[in-house]
């Protein structure tokens, strides 16, 4: 049991509990590596990785790039704005042209759900989904679970509430799959308009009252309201959203236990979470970022080990 069951990381949906366990164990080793005086290992020196970002990203792109560099891979970066995509080139053509330069692995973020799956069926390279529209963001869910495991010992049996824009959130969907796979209890909380109609079929509970949800949980994962994906108004005003679903210090202190606060970033300070909560001891937001590099190193390393020279 030291090999992943998949050749691509397209979504948590395709992983097994054993895969997640292997990724976490490997990430433990890489976490030790990135805390050394020299934070680099030569494992992937004969692997070339293309980072294709058809949609904006700061954290994820930097985190992937750093993980690849720490593993000594050669990398090429591509962002849609400055490319031939605007000249009308198709996705397969773009990627095949890049692969013609002898690239072994592709990390892709794309605004269309299923873009990674489509690509994996049409090109010869190992694909890592770095976010496909409103579908999945598997490495984010892995680093979230890994951070919970680090903080609370294990994920199994823990109660996690995901608060905010569930409808447009790939982080929420991947997190639900990952947490359920590891035996956690999950609830979602947010305005009814931002909760998908059949979300219960994934085995999660729905709570529309933030205080009740927080009193139930061990961990609260506060999501960002994705205004850029909203073509219509899902709630009357940002102010009203904040009043009902924003987490502030007063609410946090009123709870009868100390919960862990997470946020995948980027934070809209003062909307879904106030500054004093984001910067408090209960928030593990920056731990999530640090763990992101270790998790991505583990995923890249494990997938690369399946590419035969």
């Amino acid at each position: 049991m030291s090999e992943l069951s998949v050749n691509h990381l397209l979504g948590i949906k395709y992983l097994t509990a054993k895969d997640i366990d292997l990724i976490f164990k490997t990430a433990d080793h890489f976490k030790e590596v990135i805390n050394r005086p020299i934070k680099k290992v030569p494992s992937l020196r004969d692997i070339t990785i293309a980072n294709l970002f058809f949609e904006n990203s700061t954290r994820t792109r930097l985190s992937f790039e750093l993980a690849e560099k720490r593993l000594s891979a050669d990398i090429i970066n591509f962002s849609a704005g400055s490319s031939s995509v605007s000249k009308g080139e198709t996705l397969i053509d773009t990627v095949n042209n890049i692969l013609a330069m002898k690239v072994d692995m592709v990390v892709m973020r794309h605004p269309n759900p299923g873009a990674g799956i489509f690509l994996s069926k049409n090109v010869r390279a190992s694909i890592i989904n770095a976010g496909d529209g409103t579908h999945e963001h598997p490495t984010q869910a892995l680093l979230d679970s890994y951070s919970i495991r680090e903080k609370l010992g294990e994920v199994k049996g823990k109660k996690i509430v995901i608060v905010g824009d569930i409808l447009h959130s790939r982080v929420a969907l991947s997190n639900i799959f990952a947490l359920k796979l590891q035996g956690a209890e999950v609830k979602v909380c947010g305005p009814k308009t931002l909760i998908p109609k059949y979300i219960q079929s994934l085995g999660v509970g729905v709570e529309t009252n933030l205080i009740k949800a927080l009193e139930w949980c061990d961990v609260a994962n506060m999501l960002r309201v994705q205004n850029e994906r909203m073509e219509i108004s899902y709630f009357p005003s940002t102010r009203e959203y904040t009043q009902q679903f924003g987490l502030n210090k007063e609410i946090l202190n009123s709870l009868n236990k100390e919960i862990v606060v997470m946020h995948p970033g980027p934070i809209n300070r003062g909307v879904e979470i106030t500054s004093d909560v984001a910067d408090s001891k209960q928030a593990i937001i920056l731990d999530q970022v640090q763990n992101g590099v270790a998790i991505r190193m583990a995923v890249i390393y494990l997938l690369a080990s399946k590419i035969k020279p």
């Binding site: 490997t26 080793h29 590596v33 005086p37 290992v41 494992s43």
Partner: protein
């Protein structure tokens, strides 16, 4: 063909004492010396040497760490079996120190080559020495030799040398396994 005993418990005991004495001869007070066991099996030998140095020769506070070389190996993606990493634990700086690598069997020398690269991540040692229990001479792929050696063995490439330790496998012994028995016996040993 059955397995052949290369060393029994009594012989191993004598060799461990000799190796410990040789280390003391070259590193009288271990003041500027650190010991690194190479994961996974070098650690078993290093544990025993450390125990001897502490209990029988009364040398305390020797800096002792474990080094995993998985991410530094040159056969990544080339071996049939995927490599599983072990824990690295070095909570001291090796800058300007004399480092002693300890591994159980020196075969092709590739593990030690990887360890020489890996240790650089923890600083620039003053010098590095190598202690092994078994030296399979004639099998080397690289110009690497031990400074302290338990026993030299002439084993052909298809044979396998397997070291057993009392704490882990229930006995101190070194076996030479012939070619056809390799998989059967190593399979059994994995379960232990």
């Amino acid at each position: 063909m059955s397995q052949k005993v290369l060393l029994n418990a009594k012989e191993i005991n004598i060799i461990l004492h000799r190796l410990a004495c040789q280390l003391i001869e070259d590193h009288p007070d271990f003041e500027n010396t650190v010991i690194i066991g190479i994961q996974p099996r070098g650690v078993f030998l290093a544990d025993r040497i450390i125990k001897l140095l502490q209990e029988e020769f009364n040398i305390k506070n020797i800096p002792y760490g474990h080094l995993d070389i998985t991410f530094y190996r040159d056969d990544f993606r080339r071996s049939d079996k995927p490599l599983e990493a072990n824990k690295t634990k070095i909570d001291f700086i090796v800058e300007d120190k004399k480092v002693i690598f300890i591994d159980d069997v020196l075969y092709t020398g590739r593990s030690i080559r990887a360890a020489l690269t890996a240790i650089q991540s923890f600083g620039r040692p003053k010098e590095i020495e190598l202690l092994t229990l078994i030296d399979r001479r004639f099998s080397r792929h690289l110009p690497i030799q031990p400074d302290y050696n338990g026993r030299q063995v002439d084993a052909i490439n298809d044979e396998k040398v397997k070291v057993h330790w009392k704490d882990i496998h229930g006995e101190d012994a070194v076996y030479l396994l012939p070619k056809e028995n390799n998989t059967a016996i190593s399979g059994k040993q994995k379960k232990e």
